[in-house]
């Protein structure tokens, strides 16, 4: 395994064979290859097996509450736009418990990278359905199979105005690194949904299944046409992988649009209020 500046020694709490191990290595390599300064990165995560990721990366992190990685990430990025902020978690964390934040974070367009490990099942709580579980998927809780329509995060993100929407599969190392790097380079909100098999609780959507039921978009794929990308995002067997949509026109990020940043670029936390400004409040 390639060594990176983001490695940290210690016990890892994932099951042997978990897709997260692959992703951990790919994320560290991506950051390393982009020459990112580890002290300038913050990973914000919620709760779940995926949300443990920052524990194993040598950066700053905020490992908060279940479903709440996005609002924390948004605020960090607004307070200090100079940081590289990554919000990371699983499909249950980000699309279920944090579903409302997902919708509105896309609308806000904060300058963050959103990495969602999508294994179509709840791992930490031992095998219940997730928002992306397919209909008919049997679990100890959905005993006769899932009866809900699965959530389509890519289509949702595109319709909500996301400027960068991608999907990858951890089994495809090169694609995953390429997509993650592009997401980091993108200004504004970037969603990467990552097929990441759970070896303990999902015996249906396995490494082999993902491989069989997905394909990589060709070099000729035009990711700049929103409607075409939306149509593409609706395909589900096989699932298209790669950058489905990238807005060809750079959009202003949340921080740039906020009045407090239109007056000056200095990160919020560095500013000092003058005596004159204070006195004005009591005029």
């Amino acid at each position: 395994m390639k060594e990176t500046r983001f490695d940290i020694k210690g016990d890892i709490a994932w099951c042997p064979g978990c897709g997260n191990f692959l992703l951990l290595q790919l994320l560290k390599e991506s950051l390393d290859e982009l020459d990112v300064d580890p002290t300038n990165v913050v990973i914000s995560s919620g709760i779940g097996q995926a949300a443990k990721m920052p524990q194993y990366v040598n950066t700053s992190f905020f490992n908060g509450l279940h479903g709440r990685g996005l609002p924390v990430a948004t605020a960090i990025s607004l307070t200090n736009p100079e940081l590289l902020v990554i919000a990371e978690g699983g499909d249950g964390d980000m699309y279920g418990e944090g579903g409302n934040h997902f919708l509105h974070t896309v609308r806000r367009n904060p300058n963050i990278v959103h990495l969602v490990h999508n294994n179509m099942v709840y791992g930490l709580t031992k095998g219940q359905a997730s928002p992306t579980s397919p209909r008919g998927f049997k679990t100890p809780l959905q005993t006769e199979g899932v009866i809900l329509e699965p959530l389509n995060p890519l289509a949702l993100a595109i319709t909500l105005g996301a400027g960068f929407v991608a999907r990858t599969f951890v089994g495809n190392r090169e694609l995953t690194k390429d997509v993650v790097k592009q997401a980091i380079a993108h200004k504004g909100y970037a969603l990467v949904d990552i097929f990441d098999p759970c070896v303990s609780f999902n015996k249906v959507n396995t490494f082999a299944w993902y491989k069989e039921h997905s394909y990589v978009l060709g070099d000729d794929w035009d990711s700049s046409n929103k409607i075409q990308s939306l149509t593409k995002s609706m395909e589900n067997d096989p699932f298209p992988l790669g950058v489905l949509y990238k807005n060809p026109e750079e959009q202003p990020s949340l921080a740039e649009m906020h009045p407090a940043y239109q007056e000056e670029d200095t990160p919020l936390f560095k500013r000092k209020r003058s005596v004159k400004d204070l006195t004005a409040l009591m005029a």
Partner: protein, 561 residues
């Protein structure tokens, strides 16, 4: 006749622009050298219904609601209906004839044909200014100041609007002059140097003074006014205001902002705060400071959305699972509002705990006159350190407080975890580490310096009336009116932790009276829980209204008799 104070009530519909008269009038009173206070009572309606405002004009400082109405201005046909039990033969009622005669009362009536006169000017919208003219004249306010304020208020709408308002003022002035009524209150020139202020502004000013530069919230009455105030200072004072999708996002944003180096706040009401409680617990374990402005209104559930109550002390006190320290402050005066809000940020940063500012609808929507605070003289300490390569966010220390660095500022990593964690901020299930971390967090306030209770009245009291938060003004005035040498008022700006002097202060009294605007005497429960002291008399109210001075005089007087 010269009296210590008068009470004027304006009664009209929502959407009639009462707010404009009130704010303009209180500025006029202040500049004319009168003490004044406005209490607002609103129905949960955008238009219609019946809203009333009580304006008190006094020769001494005043910040309390009274039942008595000396002068009633009726602005709508149903304006009298809900006020009948507050009207007697001493009340003077002014308004359109059919409005003021719509109900039979013992009051003196002075009909004015406002509608007709306003038609002459061209719009009924000038009615408000007409009554500014009436009031200004009846109370001998400085007319030039009144005209200046009016033209300032309306100049951006164009010259003809200013002129029409001036005409409306003249009509009102004439009506007052022809009435033969006049109200005289002794002036206090020192008021001219003070500041007319709204309750919510005190919280906003205090927050900005305390370094608040990030606010995330979801709108909810009566907390929204603070959010709106801060939004109006986004550019001038570099404060970033984000309307969150829900209160859960709001509190998590505030915590994320503090983590990255901001001084952040949420402003919310009981129902919204209920959604934030997991976030409070997150602040507790991650030791990320946070300031919560909790604007109380009557619950449970949606309750009475536009009315007042002090029913959320227990919510603030017990919010969040698990054990961790916190501080709860509650302003009584306008000055308290500014100073405690400022202090909330200092405390949160110094002790890395959640700090609450507890207000309510009555306090926030109220208006009054305050002594100016020299904000440049208040203490501001930035506790954030630069990290070195071996930085540990949760280093065990004697004080329990670990130096707080922020990401990207130094060679270290700032690793923060809502799971139980090691000194480095990594997940652990080690029992010894868990216990050491709990002990560390629980001793964080050991060096905290209390904000002492205030004793108002005789130092050698035998009876102590205890209160916190917005009833301050009514209790103070009631105790003063009772004029009993054995009775003092003990006010608690710091509600939790109970200040160390509490026991001594309470034990000095032979008789303890508690006044709270809620149904279960929540502060009384806290005092009994922590000190084993019970109150001899508990005076509560939970009908959605603030205490009036008369009610408190009667209920405290009963005990003293």
């Amino acid at each position: 006749m010269e009296r210590q104070s008068y009470s004027i009530v304006l009664s009209g519909e929502a959407g009639q622009g009462l707010q404009t008269i009130e704010s303009l009038f209180i500025a006029l009173l202040q500049k004319s050298g009168y003490h004044a206070f406005i209490a607002k009572e609103l129905m949960s309606r955008v238009r219609g219904g019946n809203n009333t405002s009580e304006i008190r004009i006094a020769s001494k400082r005043v910040q309390a609601f009274v039942d008595r109405i000396d002068l009633l201005i009726v602005l709508s046909k149903d304006g009298l209906d809900r006020l009948l039990d507050r009207i007697d033969e001493n009340t003077l009622i002014i308004g359109e004839e059919d409005y003021i005669k719509s109900r039979k009362t013992d009051a003196r009536l002075y009909p004015v044909n406002v509608k007709e006169q306003m038609e002459e000017i061209g719009s009924q919208l000038y009615t408000n200014t007409f009554f500014v003219g009436v009031l200004s004249t009846l109370f001998s306010c400085d007319e030039n100041i009144a005209r200046t304020l009016l033209s300032e208020q309306f100049s951006r709408k164009g010259e003809s609007i200013v002129e029409n308002n001036s005409k409306a003022f003249d009509f009102g002035k004439k009506a007052a002059e022809e009435s033969n009524y006049h109200f005289s209150v002794k002036r206090d020139d020192s008021v001219k140097k003070m500041k007319a202020i709204k309750g919510f502004e005190t919280i906003g000013i205090g927050a900005l003074s305390g370094g608040c530069n990030f606010v995330a919230s979801y709108p909810m009455s009566p907390a929204t006014s603070v959010l709106v105030y801060l939004a109006s200072h986004e550019r001038s004072h570099s404060v970033l205001v984000e309307q969150a999708e829900d209160e859960i996002a709001a509190i998590n944003m505030a915590i994320g902002a503090w983590y990255a180096g901001a001084r952040a706040m949420v402003t919310t009401s009981g129902g919204g705060f209920a959604l934030m409680t997991e976030g409070i617990s997150l602040s507790g374990i991650t030791e990320t400071p946070v300031v919560v402005h909790l604007a109380q209104r009557p619950g449970p559930g949606t309750g009475l959305p536009t009315r007042t109550e002090q029913g959320d002390l227990n919510l603030a006190l017990y919010a969040g699972h698990g054990d961790f320290p916190r501080v709860i402050l509650a302003p009584g005066t306008w000055e308290d509002g500014v100073l405690l809000s400022h202090e909330a940020f200092e405390i949160a940063d110094a002790y890395q705990v959640p700090v609450f500012i507890l207000t309510d609808q009555y306090y926030l929507d109220g208006e009054g006159i305050m002594e100016k605070v020299d904000l440049s003289k208040l203490e501001r300490t930035n506790h954030v350190v630069k990290s070195n390569a071996s930085y540990k966010r949760y280093k065990i220390t004697d004080s329990g407080i670990s130096e707080r660095a922020i990401p990207g500022q130094g060679k270290g990593f700032v690793c923060v975890d809502s799971d139980e964690h090691t000194e480095e901020g990594r997940i652990t299930e080690n029992a010894a580490v868990r216990q050491a971390m709990m002990d560390k967090r629980m001793r964080k306030l050991s060096a905290y310096k209390d904000i002492d209770p205030k004793i108002i009245g005789p130092k050698n009291y035998t009876t102590l009336v205890v209160g916190w938060g917005s009833p301050y003004g009514a209790i103070k005035e009631a105790v003063a009116n009772l004029d009993d040498k054995g009775v003092a008022f003990g006010f608690f700006p710091q509600v939790y932790p109970l200040p160390s002097r509490t026991k001594e202060i309470l034990e000095k009294a032979k008789h303890l009276i508690l006044v709270e605007n809620n149904a279960s005497a929540q502060f009384g429960q806290l005092i009994r829980r922590d000190l084993g002291i019970t109150f001899d008399t508990t005076i509560l109210q939970y009908n959605g209204s603030p205490f009036s001075v008369e009610q408190l005089v009667a209920r405290i007087g009963e005990v003293l008799a």
